[in-house]
């Protein structure tokens, strides 16, 4: 999911960088002081997650964890993921400095989307919550693969072909991240439910009932 330097054309790079800057600005604005440490921890988790590999056929893919980062951080996923990507590019030479913006969008935008789509269902009854958590983990990888395909289609031919290839390669990752997200949500619900999105609303709703 890390796109290397020199693969993409300038328009895609610039567009990616612009979206990444905007997202990061929104994320930083929405990041309250109390959650800076949390954002840092999730950034670190994201940074390390890419070292866990899942062999798939001729290639192999790695965990991304953008779903859980998005679910717990919302818009703050942008700065958290950007930070982790800068460090991955510097330390591991994954991706690259010029593709930083595009790579941030590929991984952080799905995180924010899934936060808004799945977040509201996390405090619902267990069955729905589990489904929402799984959808969040798997969906953010899926959307990331689609975005990666979209940014590659200008240089590597048809969108369907490239996106199909990336999605197929990431199917195991989707399953694994879905499960990880389910377990994380279940654990946090027991231990620290206020970390999950929509907690106040859920408490209010419960108080009303």
């Amino acid at each position: 999911m890390h796109i290397s330097e020199g693969v993409l054309g300038a328009p895609v790079l610039v567009a990616g960088a612009a979206v990444a800057v905007a997202g990061t600005a929104v994320g930083l604005k929405k990041l309250e002081l109390e959650r800076v440490a949390q954002a840092g921890m999730l950034s670190a988790a994201f940074f390390v997650a890419s070292l866990i590999h899942v062999p798939v056929g001729p290639s192999s893919v790695h965990l991304i964890l953008n779903g859980i980062v998005g679910l717990l951080l919302g818009w703050a996923a942008f700065p958290a993921i950007l930070t982790a990507l800068v460090l991955q590019a510097m330390m591991f030479q994954y991706g690259g400095i010029t593709t930083l913006g595009v790579n941030t969008v590929i991984m952080a935008l799905p995180a924010v989307v899934c936060y808004h789509l799945c977040g509201p269902f996390i405090h619902k009854p267990p069955r729905i919550a589990v489904a929402a958590a799984f959808a969040c983990g798997a969906g953010s990888v899926f959307l990331g693969a689609i975005l990666a395909g979209a940014s590659l289609m200008f240089t590597e031919g048809s969108f369907l072909e490239v996106a199909g290839l990336i999605v197929t390669a990431h199917l195991p990752v989707m399953a694994i991240e879905g499960v990880i997200t389910v377990f994380c949500v279940a654990f946090l619900k027991k231990v620290k439910p206020e970390m999950l999105p929509g907690y106040d609303a859920a408490v209010l709703a419960q108080a009303k009932n």
């Binding site: 890390h2 002081l33 590999h53 330390m91």
Partner: protein, 205 residues
């Protein structure tokens, strides 16, 4: 449901066990010269070979000279089309790409070997035994060019393992130092963020 969960748990565990297997977010290509041929080796970081990766060779001004595909061992070799700086670009799909610059100096060093052994030999045809078996006491009959050719060929042979070692060291995965260092950066940034915010808070209060 239970079986499904067990299956998923096994998958997750497997993915953790398979950790050092192969990475796929970085590819490397390494090229070296032997005689007049250029050999390349392409790997994903972690050591998995790039199969059917596209290799393109460009000259200094960016003109495409030739193209090819890596075989199952990630290697691809070609005869150097010109003696000039060559940029060898590997595209391994899904946005993976890397390049290697082969300088004209490297190429011209490799070049004279086959020329010297095949054409520029002053010995008579009757002495046309393979060079490897030629007795060393043939010393006085050799020209400086012959000696140069022999030395450079022998050197190439001897250097081969070294070249391969360098190739292997090109795609070392992230080390513990990188990982801990990265986490350290993040902790530092969190501290910096907290400091800035608290300072702002204190100034306001």
């Amino acid at each position: 449901m239970r079986r499904l969960l067990t299956g998923l748990a096994v998958t997750v565990l497997y993915s953790f066990v398979a950790l050092p297997a192969a990475h796929a977010h970085k590819v490397t290509i390494f090229a070296w010269v032997e005689g007049d041929r250029v050999f390349t080796e392409s790997k994903f970081s972690g050591g998995k070979m790039v199969k059917a990766g596209k290799v393109a060779v460009f000259d200094g001004s960016g003109n495409l000279l030739l193209e090819g595909q890596t075989d199952d061992n990630g290697s691809f070799d070609f005869k150097a089309p010109i003696i000039a700086d060559l940029k060898i670009v590997l595209t391994a799909g899904m946005g993976h790409r890397n390049s290697w610059l082969l300088t004209a100096a490297e190429l011209s060093e490799g070049e004279p070997t086959p020329l010297a052994t095949n054409e520029a030999r002053p010995e008579p045809a009757s002495l046309d035994t393979p060079r490897e078996t030629a007795p060393p006491l043939a010393g006085p009959g050799l020209t400086a060019r012959d000696i140069e050719a022999i030395v450079s060929r022998q050197l190439e042979e001897k250097i081969k393992p070294l070249v391969q070692m360098v190739a292997a060291s090109q795609e070392k995965g992230p080390t513990m130092r990188d990982i801990v260092g990265g986490i350290g950066y993040i902790i530092g940034l969190v501290g910096l963020g907290a400091y800035v915010r608290y300072r702002k808070d204190r100034r306001h209060s």
